[in-house]
């Protein structure tokens, strides 16, 4: 933790007042609690409006953060090229509150793809530049959580604007960007100094939550050297036993905060004659890599299933130096075939000698 950061106590009521202030500049999204089909609670983001207040769940929201950076289907070009290619030259300002550490860290994977070359995705960049991220420490990890296995923690360390740590009757709020410090300075009346015991309460929660996540994952002593493991076991039969229950629905990919694949397609336009649409796509689909003439480099389901692992844990480290998995557990939670990435790695680990 950076000790120079601006830090304060913020009551629940004052946090709502802060969101009121931020809401004057753009849309504010907050987690809301909804009962799911198994009787538990899920926390999808909703646009903050009259009567809706921030729900601190202690657990990550349902939607991956990427949904706010590039929507499932969006217009990206009009042609023949009109005078002004896009009417909305700058994206609207948005505030996302309640972002979990596993989602915040996913932006590193997305930035690497969308920002870091000569072909910057201007739509993604606009969203990134115009989004205020208010993150929150976790306290209630679930069985599907494995941030600690992915090398992360259940609380954010860097890259947020403001971070919330739940303590009695409010939050410790910490500024992680210049923009956030400004927000805190401009609304100084909402904040009060943090007490030592409040800081220790935060540190205790962080340690305790980390311990809980580690306890949840104690049976999955994942190889520390996952890319090496995959290199060795690319062709092993183990893949076939795990893909057996995959129904190719794509839930693991669409819910994944780092999956970014898409397809461009063209259709009739509204303001210009034609338009180009960018839509999420998924590598488990047979049509994803299918070429004219019918050929495909990943013809079999096993090959498509395996590709997700190779891409995230072998190719990402080779291209960018880090894995494209944050341990959010959505792929485990959403899988109708009960496929658990941790079990796949455990099985690969068990048949491999000497890769730790």
């Amino acid at each position: 933790m950076n000790s120079d950061r601006k830090i304060a106590f913020l009551s629940d009521d004052n946090f709502e007042k802060l969101l009121d202030v931020l809401g004057r500049k753009g849309d504010v999204y907050i987690p809301q609690a909804f009962e799911n089909r198994t009787g538990g609670l899920d926390y999808p983001y909703e646009r903050r409006s009259e009567g809706k207040t921030f729900v601190y769940a202690g657990y990550r929201p349902s939607q991956p953060l990427k949904t706010f950076m590039f929507s499932g289907r969006m217009k990206v070009a009009e042609y023949p090229a009109p005078e002004s290619a896009r009417s909305e030259s700058s994206e609207k300002f948005q505030v996302i509150a309640g972002v979990a550490a596993c989602d915040l860290i996913s932006l590193k994977s997305l930035d690497a793809v969308f920002l870091q070359d000569e072909f910057t995705d201007i739509f993604y960049k606009d969203k990134r530049d115009n989004t205020v991220l208010i993150t929150a420490d976790c306290s209630e990890p679930r069985e599907t959580c494995f941030c600690t296995l992915a090398g992360n923690a259940p609380y954010p360390k860097n890259g947020f604007d403001l971070n919330l740590s739940r303590i009695a009757s409010g939050f410790i709020i910490e500024a992680g960007s210049g923009r956030a410090e400004e927000i805190m300075n401009q609304n100084a009346q909402l904040f009060s100094p943090v007490k030592m015991e409040q800081l220790s309460a935060r540190d205790n929660n962080r340690a305790e939550t980390t311990r809980k996540v580690e306890e949840i994952n104690k049976d999955y002593g994942l190889s520390k050297n996952r890319h090496k493991l995959l290199e060795i076991q690319r062709e092993c039969d183990e893949w076939y036993s795990h893909v057996r229950t995959c129904i190719e629905c794509g839930a693991c990919l669409f819910s994944c905060p780092t999956c970014h694949c898409f397809l461009l397609y063209d259709q009739e336009g509204d303001s210009a004659e034609f338009q180009r649409v960018k839509e999420w796509d998924a590598c488990v689909y047979a049509g994803y890599s299918k070429m004219a003439g019918g050929g495909s480099p990943r013809f079999g389901l096993m090959e498509r299933f395996r590709h997700r692992y190779l891409h995230k844990f072998e190719y990402y480290p080779k291209n960018f130096g880090f894995e494209a998995c944050t341990g959010c557990g959505r792929c485990v939670e959403g899988c109708m075939g009960n496929i658990d990435m941790r079990k796949v790695f455990k099985a690969l680990d068990q048949i491999t000698v000497g890769v730790r």
């Binding site: 990206v76 070009a77 009009e78 042609y79 023949p80 090229a81 002004s84 290619a85 896009r86 030259s89 793809v113 969308f114 070359d117 072909f119 910057t120 995705d121 201007i122 690319r234 062709e235 970014h260 694949c261 898409f262 397809l263 461009l264 397609y265 063209d266 259709q267 009739e268 004659e273 034609f274 180009r276 960018k278 796509d281 590598c283 994803y288 890599s289 299918k290 070429m291 004219a292 003439g293 050929g295 495909s296 480099p297 990943r298 013809f299 090959e303 395996r306 190779l310 891409h311 072998e314 190719y315 080779k318 291209n319």
Partner: protein
Amino acid sequence: MSNSQNPYAPLNGIVEQVIVETPTIKTLMVRPDTQIPFRAGQFMQLTVPGVGEAPFTPSSSPNRVELLDFTILDTGTVTHKLHNLNKGDRVGLRGPFGKGYPVDKLKGKEVLVVGGGVGLAPLRSLLYVLFDEIAQFKRVSIKYGARSPQDLVYKNSFEKWSSIDNVDFTVTVDGAGPEWKGNTGVVTTILDNIDIKISDSIAVVCGPEIMLKFVTLKLIDIGYKAEQIYLSMNRRMSCGTGKCGRCNIGPYYLCKDGPDMNYALIKDYPNVFGM
């Protein structure tokens, strides 16, 4: 925000001429509204308005940017629509994408160019560059194969290419009637007993996936090392910029790191010649 900053937006171009190369292959000569400099082997995404895009490497010389040739086999949705275009029709262009052929690495070498079918199209762009500076290369050997005599592209150029000093040009067809006096057999058959100092050679290969596979096996068999082989790989592409995900071989994206890949880089990854 102008279209030029938007990597997904096409520039306008007009079809200036259509050349029928074979019963299934046409060359579209496209004049872009604004000139688009490219290196041999780099590719463009060609848009049929309202239909979609497909990737093609210009078959014309990179030294002629005002008019781009695209030699296209009628095989899928977009290519079929491209075949229906006429002089004066509008197309869209994005690019150029990819790295292009490693021309500098070919200098001072015996360059072996192997083409299969419409695969000679991207290679023609390279050949123009090689021919322009032919003294820079020890020799250029071109081995070209197609299914039948009527499937050969650029037939009118063969004689001219063969007559260039330091250029050796051999054609074969898989099968032909009695009027065909040339070689028959798949392209690998004209790689047997080639008069090339292999240790001093680089091979550049473009063609359908199955041809790439067997030419690679043949080249390895006759003594080429994986590092000496460049393959124009085939994958479905969409964005052209390494973002949409689908054209990878291992960690490499053909649109960004290729489409011509050194075989040594890709050979150990899964489904290199997936079909």
